[in-house]
C-alpha cells in the first residue's frame, strides 16, 4: 500500500452567491422564484491520478491556481473529493498555512502546545520533542514572550519548528519553506533532508525551484487542475522552465 493514492480525483467548487450572501437573496430566489444568479461550478481538479510511495519526496509544480494546494488539502483530508478516491496510510501532518491556530496573546510555549495539539500531537509526544522545537526555532526568550511581540519572521520560524519536529509519516508543506533568514532556511532544508533520509514521505509545493530540486526526487506538474507531467524532478523542471 503506497503512502498516498489519488484515483480519478476531481474537485469541483460551486460558487453560490448565497454562500457568502444573505437571506434576502434566498428569499428572492426561493420564494419569489426569481433567479438572481446562476450556480457556477468551477473545476479545480480534473481526474487526477497520483500515487506516492512510502519514502518518496514529491514536488508539486504549477502556476497559481493550478490546483496544487487543493491536492494537498485533499490528501490531508481537509477537502473531500467530488469524485474519485483518496487513500492514505500513516500519520499526516499538513502545513497549509503556517501557524494556523496561533494566538497572539499567548506565549511562545503556550502556542507551541496549542499548535502541536492542532496538528494532532499528543501531550506526551510533545513533551519529548519540546526541547528540540525550542532549540530548532532558536528564538531568544521564546517560551515566555507573548507571540504578538515576535517579528513576523520569528513567528513563522516558531510555526515551522513545530511542524518539522513532528516526525509524521507523511509531511505536506504548502509554500512554507520561504520563511526566516538564510541560515534558518538552511537548517530547515537540512531537517527535511534528514526526515526524508529516515524514510519519511514528503510532498512539497513551492515556487522556489532550486529548493525543490534539492529536496525532491520526483516532480508532478499541474496545469489547470490536470497532471501534465510526472517524472524525475530534473526532467520535469527542465520542461517546466522552458
Amino acid at each position: 500500500m503506497p503512502a498516498v493514492e489519488l484515483r480519478g480525483v476531481s474537485k469541483r467548487f460551486y460558487f453560490y452567491e448565497h454562500r457568502t450572501s444573505s437571506l434576502r437573496e434566498w428569499f428572492i430566489r426561493r420564494v419569489l422564484r426569481r433567479p438572481i444568479h446562476v450556480r457556477r461550478a468551477a473545476f479545480t481538479l480534473h481526474d487526477v491520478d497520483l500515487t506516492v510511495g512510502r519514502g518518496d519526496a514529491v514536488a508539486l509544480l504549477g502556476r497559481n491556481g493550478s490546483g496544487k494546494s487543493t491536492v494537498l488539502r485533499l490528501i490531508a483530508g481537509i477537502y473531500h473529493p467530488s469524485s474519485g478516491t483518496v487513500r492514505t496510510e500513516g500519520r499526516i501532518t499538513a502545513v497549509i498555512e503556517l501557524g494556523a491556530g496561533f494566538h497572539p496573546e499567548l506565549t511562545g510555549a503556550e502556542n507551541i502546545a496549542l499548535y502541536a495539539a492542532v496538528l494532532g500531537l499528543r501531550r506526551k509526544e510533545l513533551a519529548e520533542r519540546y526541547d528540540d522545537i525550542v532549540e530548532f526555532a532558536a528564538i531568544p526568550d521564546l517560551p515566555d514572550t507573548p507571540l504578538k511581540y515576535y517579528s513576523s519572521g520569528m513567528e513563522a520560524r516558531l510555526a515551522f519548528s513545530v511542524a518539522v519536529c513532528l516526525q509524521p509519516d507523511i509531511l505536506l508543506l504548502d509554500e512554507v519553506l520561504a520563511v526566516g533568514d538564510q541560515a534558518f532556511r538552511e537548517r530547515c532544508l537540512e531537517r527535511l533532508r534528514q526526515y526524508h533520509a529516515r524514510g519519511g514521505t514528503l510532498i512539497l509545493v513551492s515556487h522556489e525551484l532550486e529548493q525543490l530540486r534539492e529536496l525532491c526526487t520526483r516532480g508532478v506538474w499541474l496545469d489547470q487542475g490536470r497532471v501534465v507531467m510526472d517524472g524525475p524532478i530534473d526532467a520535469v523542471l527542465e520542461r517546466y522552465r522552458a
Binding site: 490531508a76 499538513a94 497549509i96 494532532g120 499528543r122
Partner: protein, 262 residues
Amino acid sequence: MTAALRPLGRVWRYRELLHSLVVRNLKVKYQRSLLGFVWTLVNPLFTVAVLGVVFSHVVRIPLAQYWAFLLSGYFVWNFTLQTLNTGTYIFAEHSRLTRSVAFPSEILVFGAAGSRLIEFAVEIGLVLAVLAIFHHHAVPDSYLVLPVLLAIQLLLVIGLALPIATLSVFYYDVYHALPIALTTLFYLSPVFYPAEMVPAAARGLYFLNPIAGLLTLYHDVLYWGRMPSPHLLAGMLLAAVLIYLAGYALFRRYAAIFPEIV
C-alpha cells in the same frame, strides 16, 4: 445507537485539542486583566441587581426573597446566551484553522462551551453556597439533582449552538438576527418571573421553548429547594437529547464543506 455514540468517540480522540482550546480560551480571556474572573461575575450580578430592584419595587413580582429567585436562574440564562452567541462567530474566528487542518470542527463549538462551562461551574458554586446560607439556611436535598440539570443544560445549549454555527457559515445574517432572537427569548423565558405566572391556557405553548423548562428546573432545585416533578425532569432530558442529536446531525451534514466556505 452506535450512530448516536460516534460523536463521543470523535471528541474522545481529539480530547487533547479540546483541552488545549478550553485552556486557551480561558487564558486569553483572563491573563491581561487585573480583576480577571471578577468581571465575569460583575456583569451578570449587575444585571441581577437591576432586575432585582425593578421587579421587586416597581413592577412587583410576588416572590419572597426575589433576589434568590433571580440568582437561581440568571447564570443559567447567561450561559445559554453567551454560548449561543459564540456560535455565530466561532468559524469566522477560526477560518484559517478550518481551512488548513483536518479536524472535527465541532471541537471548536465544544471548546467554546467548555470554557464557558468552567466559568459557569464557579458561578453556580457560589450561587449554591449563597442560597444555602442566606436563603435556605441549610443545604437542601434537591441540590443532588444538579448533575442531571447540568447535563440537560449542556446537551440543550450545544444542540442549539451547533445549528446556529452551521447557519452562520452560510449566512452572515445569523450574526445580526440572533441577538434579536435572544432578546425575545429573554422575555419569553422565566428569567425574571416564575413560569407559574404564565396563564395556564398559554403554558403548553410557553413550554415549547426548551429554555423555559430548563430554567424552571433550576428554580425548583435552587430557589424552592424541592425536587422537580419527574415529568418535567424526564421530559427535559429527552428533549435535550433529541435537540442535541438533531443539531449534531445537521452540523455533520454540512461540516465537510466548511473549509471550502469559511
